[in-house]
Assembly symmetry: C2
Homo-oligomer: 305 residues x 2
């Protein structure tokens, strides 16, 4: 598999995956613009195939695995990554195994660490036995290169209309992908990472102090993993030091309500996280933010309490 994270590999991944994916639309709301005080653009990635950005990297990974004659792809997941990889593999006709914990609810992961450990060991074993390519959800070159197609789209759709991009950060694969490409092609556009407050990513990037816990207690279930991947960390340190925004749970809730009621978009809490960064903590000098709504896989009767 490709071992290099680079603009050239990102461009190749974009070309490779674009025929199968949506160029997701950008939306806005006058009411939200008034509340924030500046115009806010929303990149609607919850309208992507499988309902999240994960499919960009997953499809890139699956195509490369097939080209290199792997027998299939395998991952552990009970969330968006699993759906994305399963869809991608089916699309290109490659066998796929998703290891899902026995009693895990399909869209929620609690006790992430224990599950992860267990699932990883099973995955690695199975991957070797079957000669399947193991696709890590974020600490994976082909995932990181694949995700960057969203940044190419944003530059084409709104490159002249924005001064910043706000995105939710979890394991850091998506964040490092966007930060790397934008940092190389358009360093005038700032990439802000929005995190649940307990993550303390700025302490890692600036002072090398890791988060003291492994799993965050947050409604944004897509970003509960506390630590960023080892491939992601140096990229985020280079491009996003000083650009981490911490938000409170109450702020995520209010952001989610606004997107549901004003934009009429049924996003998941992890996507509202990025908007909460703009709504409550936008730096004064930011005048034209774009928010990536990263996913929309939320239970039908999810209630904002």
């Amino acid at each position: 598999m490709t071992t290099e994270i680079s603009v050239a590999e990102m461009r190749a991944a974009h070309k490779r995956t674009a025929p199968f994916l949506h160029n997701t639309p950008i939306m806005s709301s006058e009411n939200i613009n008034e509340k924030v005080g500046v115009p806010v653009l929303f990149k609607c990635e919850h309208l992507q195939k499988t309902g999240s950005f994960k499919v960009r990297g997953a499809l890139n990974s699956a195509i490369l695995a097939k080209e290199q004659e792997a027998n299939g792809v395998i991952a552990h997941s009970s969330g968006n990554h699993g759906q994305a990889l399963a869809w991608a593999a089916q699309k290109i006709g490659l066998p796929c195994t998703i290891v899902v914990p026995d009693n895990a609810p399909i869209s929620k992961i609690d006790g992430m660490k224990e599950y992860n450990a267990g699932r990883e060991s099973v995955c690695a074993e199975q991957a070797e036995k079957l000669e399947y390519y193991f696709v890590n959800p974020y600490d994976c070159v082909s995932m990181i290169n694949g995700h960057a197609s969203i940044a190419f789209e944003i530059l084409e759709q709104a490159g002249d209309d924005i001064d910043s991009i706000f995105l939710s950060v979890g394991g850091g694969g998506f964040a490092s992908s966007v930060a790397f490409l934008i940092g190389n092609l358009r360093p005038d556009i700032e990439v802000f990472l929005v995190e649940p407050e307990d993550k303390q990513l700025s302490n890692l990037l600036a002072n090398n102090v890791p988060c003291p816990v492994d799993t965050l207690n947050t409604m944004a279930d897509g970003v509960r993993v506390a630590h960023v991947g080892t491939l992601c960390e140096p990229i985020l340190r280079e491009f996003c030091t000083g650009k981490v925004i911490s938000v409170k749970e109450e702020e995520i809730k209010e952001a989610l309500k606004l997107v549901w009621t004003r934009l009429k978009q049924r996003i998941e809490p992890s996507a509202a996280l990025a908007f909460a960064g703009v709504l409550y903590h936008k730096p004064e000098h930011v005048k034209r933010p774009l928010v990536i709504l990263c996913g929309g896989n939320v239970d039908t009767n999810y209630v904002i309490d």
Copy 2:
């Protein structure tokens, strides 16, 4: 005010209102296409200003009222019509009064008849006293002419891709507007009216038997009014006799779930009604249906039980 419902007046209304309104997008979902068995297009009118189609007719009415030197516009409403008229009047700088029942919840109307009567008499009195133009939510020429802009948009966006249009019917203003324009310009495209089963509109259109109740007990709160307007009835009889589809509450629920989870669009139950008609009762000969998602004003924590 204009007293004629005609293609020419509809075209003029479209031209008059388009600068202020969204040409709402059309969406689709592969998963939904598979479930229905044919490709389904969704006209996303819940993304319209104020979150519903009502603003098309309301804005046309407000502009005409201003041209004819009314002092303002007035209506009774505790729902989408009130929001739409208030927004339209503000947009063009015209005073507006919305008569809202004292204890009415803002997005739900129960006991429609009593409220309606009460509010109508207050409205008429106030309208005369203030020299305001009274805008009936559906039985109103300027509303009916104004709504037709959505049909012009549909023909431009997807006129060659569809054989039918499915829409939710309540008071009949929107239904008669779309049916009239499509029936005149593109009689090859069928317009189907989807109703909650107790409405029995086909019995009115075919046999002249009115619905025995005034208010329907349905989760689709935007279409609880049982009777269609006197202006609307002859239009619907001419264009839609034999094209009424009755759906059950359980079917509206399932349609709503699918749009929330697959299209990721936060529509209101009244909008899901139209899709339920396609999902459960699509006539065999229909191969390329378009569903109008008429509104998205639903309480934040509305739960599909």
